[in-house]
Structures are given as structure tokens and as C-alpha cells.
Amino acid sequence: MEDNRFTMKINDQEFEAIEGQSILEAALENNIYIPGICSSQPDLGIGAIQTCDTCYVDVNGDLKRACSTDAQPNMVVNSVSETAKEAQLEGMSRILKNHELYCTVCDNNNGNCEVHNTAEYLQLDHQKYEFTPKPYPPDNSHPFYRYEPDQCILCGLCVEACQDLQVSEVLSIDWEREQPRVIWDDDVPINESSCVSCGHCVSVCPCNALMEKSMLGEAGYMTGTPKNILEPMIDLTKEVEPGYQEIFTISNVEATMREDRINKTKTVCTYCGVGCSFEVWTKDREILKVQPTSDAPVNGISTCVKGKFGWDFVNSEERLTKPLIRKGDKFYEATWEEALTLMADKFTELKDKEGSDSLGFIASSKCTNEENYLFQKLARSVFGTNNIDNCSRYCQTPASAGLMRTVGIGGDSGTMEDIATSDLVIVVGANPTESHPVLATRVKRAHKLHGQKLIVSDLRKNELADRADLHIHPEPGSDLVWISAVTKYILDQGWEAKEFLENRVNNVEEFKQSLEKFTLEYAEKHAGLSKETLIQTAEMIRDAEGTCILWAMGVTQHMGGTDTSTAIANLLLVTGNFGKPGAGAYPLRGHNNVQGASDFGTMPNFLPGYEPVEKDEVRSRYEQAWGTELPKYPGLNNHQIVEAIMDGNVKGMYLFGEEMGLVDSNINYVEEAFEKLDFFVVQDIFFSKTAQYADVVLPAAPSLEKEGTFTNTERRIQRFYQVMDPLDDCKPDWQIFQEFANKMGANWDYSHPSDIMDEVAKLAPVFAGVSYDRMEGWDSQVWPVKPNGESTPLLYEERFKFLDGKARLFPVDWTPPLQMGEEFDLHLNNGRLLEQFHEGNMTNKSEGINHKVSNPWLEVSHELAKERNLQSGSLVRLTSPYGKVKVRVLVTNRVTGNELYLPMNTTENEKAVNKLTSSYYDKDTHTPNYKETQVKMELLEKAGEPPLPAHNHRFGNPQPHIGVEVEKKWNRKDFTPVPETLKREGSYHGKSNHAN
């Protein structure tokens, strides 16, 4: 559909505008500047928030807000006429009544301060309305940011970001009181509110009212000036009042000088799979702040607490800084030369004596694509084994496998854009608000503002479940049953996408027959869901233009994880929800580079780009390029490697960036295996639990200390740049692999990660057009990438990834979940949480995050608490057939009945959920069945300190609004519309009466 374009004029410049654009949007698109402080973040939620009144323009003699007036054909606009300027200046003067200009000594004077720049543009010279402090002290209660009411211009961008983008609904402006201000919840200190510390409000604040505490007193040359000198200095400036233009000159000089010492480097977040990118502001090694920008392809200005504030680990005292070698029962610091020589000797010895397959290689989904590529090259071409795998085995391999069976590509069908614009989002066994926070904001916003429907299937009433139009609570491990029943019902009713099935899908009849047993009655019995719920679900899918299904560990970490993933893909195929915008299958990747690690070949059966290692044609391509012979048959996966160690078949292991000793299931067993290894190398940034079993520990460099690319859940490859030098003796992982390979005589010569990517692009067809040059700055590429560099954000528009281009419906049956025996009478669910990432090795170095959450807690339902005489703070012991833990209870309505939830955020064995999980696994991919665990519980101590502090956001009291509610401002007695004021002062004789 063509946009409806027409011509209009601003300041005598004629150009084309698009129907639906505001005057301001049309102007900005054509590089005409119109001031507009509250429009500086136009894409948050509802659009124009109309609070700042600095964008008045002259439209045929009438004063109008450019932000909220539609551009019209043949419209003639003047933004620089006497009257327009007068009106803009009036708006600005009102803002400065609320904001003291002490720019040169302000930490926000970094060249990008909207208030400063607008006042300067308007050539504001003197204060028309005297600045008056508000009767509220600054709020410094939150560990990461502060609110200074005296500097707050009440534009409400923070409110808009919190209410309509992050949709945590914490902030609002209380327009009713004498002196309006931003309040948190129902006006409590920030730290006691439901604030999730995502940082949106701080990132969008156009001045210094909301600031990262890490910036205060650090950003400017004079901002660290003691208060007793600073305050008289501000007074002096005001007293002599040389006119603001002179002040701006000085502050601009100072802002320019800051460029010398503040570095702003683009990076990609190293936490979850969403793939947020942003700038890191640093002064030497000190991190001043993380600043997202609307240019970021995935997240725009969005972040979560970890991406915005969770970077203290980089400068942690606990970082590994030197190679360590085990001698007796101690580690000794060593040189790289000593460590690498020892490794080369030991691995060569094992290879020669026990064979290549006596070695195992565990890769890292936290590290870069290039590093994963090099690691599998190391395993395959230097050591001749396919015994290589990465941690997607613990989470997402079943999802990939399910998709490869049905549609051919193990990745998200589209991008976040599709999720955001979908008619219906179904979330199964995932908790995106905590595990993929920024992705969740797009769902919450679409649901709140754009009428998107939401179905959540989860044992817990997590935040999305709470917001959903329909929250389904199936029996644990029964998702396949209800999904299949809904699919069957849709087919029975004739609601399937008939044409789509006929033209684009194979195996339809066989699949229909396989569904025979999945009647509504069967689902009612085994999934515990009513027929009405199932029918309602089917109807919602029928009525939606497009449906996206999002899923994660609640689906995959079961004995039938691959089959349930397959059932999801089947349902989407039957309803025609592939290959069109706003639809598709979205397995939510857990780590920043879970997708990329597998994509780039750290899998036992695949070379990069999911090409089977067994295929001679594929393997010979690599053999030729690498000049070595490669092993033909698939190697062992993570799980099998551990088993093989126990059996004595694997004796040497090299692991990097993976805390296997805590996050694998049944860790008692895993640790026993580690003890059996003859030689074990662990490469990490911290001395992890796993490293304690190592013979050699190598100090690696985290993302901020190197260059590379990560691939997010959308299949989007993004570059990140080096922010600081590696600490001490640390080295980027790719350099370590290269040095080790060369110690083994491999003769690799990569001088930069881009060299590695160039090699991959030549070898793996799906990455053919991937190159660093095409990913400069904020640019990114979504694979498959054609040789000309063209991305494929939406898959399957023309073909599915099979020879005949057609998808395949794949019959699956239900595998009932593991039952550990009647004695273990409580179901134990487990997973991540918002504040701490995974087990917490990185985030727990942040004092602020630990202040909000430092311990795991056991969620217990009110019913169970009553029955077992428990309260929040009670200490209990949980026992499964595999081990036991001791944790404190949190009574909550997020769980019901006999279902418990224990997050995995601990590095202490005593509290680690994987002491309880078993060694059973998904029958198709060997992913552990973490989610099929039952325990028994003993009360050890009735009363005790609650495990979650009272100042955690979960105890807050959100106050939903739609945005900043500017009407309330306009309805205030002391509010006069700007044109009215101008009329009264005689500088404007407009035609119309303004309502506001």
C-alpha cells in the first residue's frame, strides 16, 4: 500500500508529507527543526504528549502545537514567525520556572540535554518567570537513580515511558497538588515502590531531574565541586545574570571538553537473548552510565535493570586476572606460556593415548559468534572430535529441533516487530517480563494500547499471566495435550487455513489422524483444563489476523520438550501462521548468544549454519578451507559428555564461559563427573563453581573488553565494540583459542574478529553476506543473509526450508512427565528472575542489585502455607531423590496449591535448585527435564527473615494510567494556554479560541 503523500510548506520550504503525520513529524523528516522537548522521544507509547508547549507554530495565522496538529495538503506553516517564536519562548519560559539553568556544573551537560539545547535555540536570554524551587527534597532512596523535583520540568516523558512503554505503571504526575511532581506508586519513596529499575525514565529524561547515580559528580569537570562552593557559584551566576546566551557559550565549551574524557561506545548487552544495544559511557575503566538510543534496532531506548545498571562485574575485585594451574590442593598463578604449554602437553597426550573422542569441548552462549566458531574449529580440526556442544542444550535445543522438523529453521520466525504488531500473542511456559524484559515491554504495550490479545499458559501467575485476557493453568508437563486438542478442535470445526495447508504444507492427512486421541475430553482429563477454556483459546486464534506463539523453558525442559515445541509449530501451520507479518513461532533464547553459539557450529552434529557434519559435501568444504581432515560422525552432546566421563570414555575437557557446575541438572552427578576428569580446563571471567574442579583456569575478557558479534533471539547479528582494555592478564576468548591452537601447531592468523567472520561468510551459505562493514554502528543483519548482504527478518514468506519448499506437519505424542514417587508430594517449578541473571555470577557483583534481591526464595501458595504452618521467612528443607536444599519461604499468590517455585539465583550449593533436579532428559535432544521435579518439604524454622526485602518491586503498588494525562494539567486553575497569554500581552491576535 502506497503512503498517501501530499505537499505542504514550512518556512517557505516545500516538501512532501505523509498522511497521518503531525506537523512536527513531517518537519523533522525533512530536516526542518522545530523545538519540542516533550517530543524528543516520540516513539514511547501514545505519541505526542503535549506537555512542554515549546513547539507552537503559526498555521495560517493560528498558533498550533506542531506535535499534535496533523499535517494537511497545502498547509502553510511558519515556525519562525514573530508570533510562533514568541509562543515557543513563552513555553520555554514556563519550563524554566521549574528548572534552574546551572548547565556548566550540571552532570547532564553532555551536548545532548534537550532543555539546554532548546533554550539555546530559542535564544532565550532572560528569565521571564522566576525559578521557584518545589517544596520537595530530592529522592535518593533508589540504589541506581535519583529524582530531583527542583529540576523537573514536568514534561512527563518518564511517566509516558513507565506507563506506556515499559508498562510497569509506577510513575505518574500528580497534577492535583499545589505543586505538581512525579510520584512513584501512590507517592512512596522510589526504593519502596513497584519500580523494576529498568531505567526507562532516566534514559528519556530531557534534563537532569532523573539521573543515574553513577553520573552524579562524575561527568563534568566541575560537577564534583563541593556543595559549599557550588551553591554560591550558582547564586553568583544568577546575580550577575549576564544573559543566558553567555552561560550557554561557557557550558557548550565545557560540554565539548567532556568529549575528551568521556568515551561513548556501542555495545550489545551480555545478558538475555533479546539483544539490546546501547552506548556505554566510560571515564577510563569507570562506567558512568548506559545510554540507550532510538537507533538501536531491537530495543530503541528500552533496557532492563541488568542492561542499564548491571555492569559492576566488569570491574569486580573478584575477576580472574592470571592463569591458574592446579598443583596438589592449591591453584598457583602462572604465565600464559606455562598454562598453554601444559594444556598442549596434556591434550596431546590424551589424544594420542586415548583417541580424539576422549576429549570434550563445552562452548559458551555468553561469548561471541567468532569465538564459538573458533572453538568448534579447534575441537574439530585441531583435535579431530565432534564432541562439542553449548548450553542451548540446557534450554533451547528442543525448540530448534521442533522447528527444524516442521518448518526447517531453528529460530524465531520473525522479529520483535512481528510480536509487537501481532493480533494475538500466546505465551507458553515462559516468563518474559523477568527473563526477556525488553521483549515483554513490546507485548505489554501492544496489549495496553493497541488492543493486542494475550493468552498465557503457565503454572505461575506471572506478570504477563496477570495481564492476559486468558490465563491457562494446565497440569505440569501437559502443554502438548492442550495444544494438540486445540489444534484438533480447530480442524474439526473447519477453521484451519485450508488454502495455506493445501499449497504450502505436506503430511496434512497423516497429521490429522495422529490427533485422533486429543479430544477436548482427553485434554480436560490430562491437562486439567475446561472445555470452555480450550474452545475460547481456539476461537481467539480463529479470530486473530495473526498469532505469535512465544515459548521457553516451561516447554522445552521436559522429557517431551521437542515434541511440545513441534506441537506448537503444528498448531501454527494448521492456522496458517507462518510466513506473514505479525505471526509465527518464537522460542525465546535465554542468553545473549544462545542463538549464535549454535548458529556458529558449537554443536556435535552441525557445522556452522546447521549443516550436518555427516554430509560429505558439507564436511569437505570445511576440510578444504581448513586444510585438515574432519571427523564424520556426530559427537557427544553436553549430557552425553558428562555420562562419558562417568563411563571413563571422556578424560579431558575444555570448557569456557559456562557455569556447568551450577546450572546443569542434578549437579551432584555433574560434580562427581568433574572429579573424574584427568585434565580439565575452565576459561571464565570469574573463579566459578565449575573452575574449582579445573586443572587449568584461564582468565577471559568479558564483552566490554573485546570486539565481536552476538546473535539475538531474532537471528539478528549485532556488532559490539571494545569499551576498555582487558583487565590485567585477561585475554579475549578468541585470542586464547588462537594461541592454544598455534601452540598445537595450527598456524592460525586472525588479527581481528572480523577476519573470523569473513571466513565464516565464505563457508556457511546462510551467512554469505555477513560482514563487519555492513554492521557498522547500529546496523545489524538478520540471517539468512544473501551474498549481497540482504537480511531475512521474516522467514518462510515464499518457501519453507525443505527441498520442495513446503512445511511438514509432524505427528507427535504426549510423554507424561517424570513422577519421582508419591513421597515427593510437591511440584517444584524453577527458573530465572528479573534482577539477577541466571545463577548470578555477573549480576551479584552489583551492590544495587543485591540490595534489591540477594537470595533465592521459595514461592509457596497461601493454601499450602496454611496447611503446613508456614509464613514468609520460614526456613524449609526440600528433598528430592537427587539431593536437598535449604531455603526460605515467600508466601505468594503467584503459585497455587502444591506447586512451588524456586529461582536459580544462587552460587551456594545449599540453595541451588539443581541439587534437586534429575538426570532425565528430553528423549530427542537430551535437554534435562528441569521442570519435572517433585520434592518433599520439612519445616526447619517457622519464623525468620523474609528472603525478599520489603523494598523489592514485587511488593509495590503500581498505579496504571494512560500516559501523563495532560488534560489534568490543562484543567488546572493556574493554567493559561500559551496563545491566551500572548493575546493578553498583545503580541498575538489569533483567530480561534483554544480549548487548551
Binding site: P226, N228, I229, P232, M233, D235, L236, E239, V240, P242, E246, K322, L324, R326, D329, K330, F331, Y332, E333, A334, E671, F674, E675, K676, L677, F680, F687, K689, Q692, Y693, A694, D695
Partner: protein, 163 residues
């Protein structure tokens, strides 16, 4: 057969080793910048000899107290006037046409020379003599300029009033 262990024996460089490494790094830098360093030392010697260094040292060590006193002193009505007047004068200079000012200054200069000369000779001039000098075209030009100046200044003053 490796049990989990947590004890790390750090290879501590002795204090002396660390010192000598640091020192050799510094010595290298000095050698690379020999001339700069020598010049700097001479400047420092002079500053020391004149007591400037001593003064600076005191100032820096008491910077917070001194800063406070200084800012208090500056933050006084008199000082405000000085700053304001200074800024106004700078503003005036900025607005003046340099060509005009040049013409005026050159006139002023010649006038001064002439005046100085006449002051030297202490020549008495009678009323008649003054009347006669009005006829002099040079004097007339000067007087005309003065009148125009007065008119412009009055104009400026009146404009200030209406604001």
C-alpha cells in the same frame, strides 16, 4: 581425580620487583622526552626561586577553604557590579562598528595632540579668538560630530525608558 578446591596461591611480585618495573617504565618515558623535561625543570626552578610554587602549594592544600572564601568575596554587590559592568562594556565593544570607532579614535588622537600642544604654550585665547575658531572647518566638523553624538545618545536613553 580432582576435587573442588578454592585456594589460590598468588604469585606476588615482591614490592621491590613491582617498584623497579614501575621505575624503569618512568625512566624510559623521561629519556624519550628529555628536552621537555629539562625545560620543565628550569621553569620549576624559577617558580621555586620566586616563591610562586610555595604559594601555589598553600593554595592547593587549602583549596576548599580558600575556594569558599573566594567565592564569598566574589559573591558581593560590589563584585556583582564589576562583573556586570565588565560584561556590559564587553557587550558595548562588541556592538560598536570598528570602522566608525577607528575614525573617531583617529580624530580623537589628532585632537589630543593639538590640545596638548596648546596646553604647552599656555596661549591665552580671548572670546574673539574662540568665535573665530568656530569658523575653522576642522572645528566645525568636530562640533557637528558632537551634536550628532548627543542626539543619538538621547535617542538611546529615551528608548531605554519606554522598555
Amino acid at each position: 581425580m580432582a576435587k573442588a578446591i578454592t585456594q589460590i596461591e598468588q604469585k606476588r611480585k615482591s614490592k621491590q620487583e613491582e617498584r623497579s618495573e614501575d621505575l624503569s617504565a618512568i625512566i624510559n618515558q623521561i629519556a624519550d622526552n628529555r628536552e621537555v623535561i629539562q625545560d620543565t625543570l628550569i621553569i620549576l626552578q624559577e617558580l621555586h626561586a620566586t616563591g610562586v610554587l610555595d604559594m601555589l602549594k598553600g593554595l592547593l592544600r587549602t583549596r576548599e577553604k580558600v575556594g569558599q572564601i573566594a567565592i564569598e568575596q566574589i559573591n558581593q554587590p560590589g563584585m556583582h557590579n564589576i562583573i556586570k559592568n565588565g560584561m556590559n562594556t564587553i557587550g558595548l565593544l562588541a556592538e560598536m562598528e570598528s570602522d566608525q570607532l577607528k575614525a573617531m579614535f583617529s580624530g580623537l588622537n589628532t585632537g589630543l595632540e593639538k590640545a596638548a600642544e596648546s596646553a604647552k604654550t599656555q596661549e591665552e585665547v580671548g572670546l574673539w579668538g574662540l568665535m573665530k575658531s568656530v569658523r575653522d572647518p576642522n572645528v566645525r566638523t568636530s562640533m557637528n560630530t558632537m551634536v550628532n553624538f548627543l542626539e543619538g545618545m538621547g535617542n538611546g536613553l529615551n528608548q531605554q525608558k519606554t522598555h
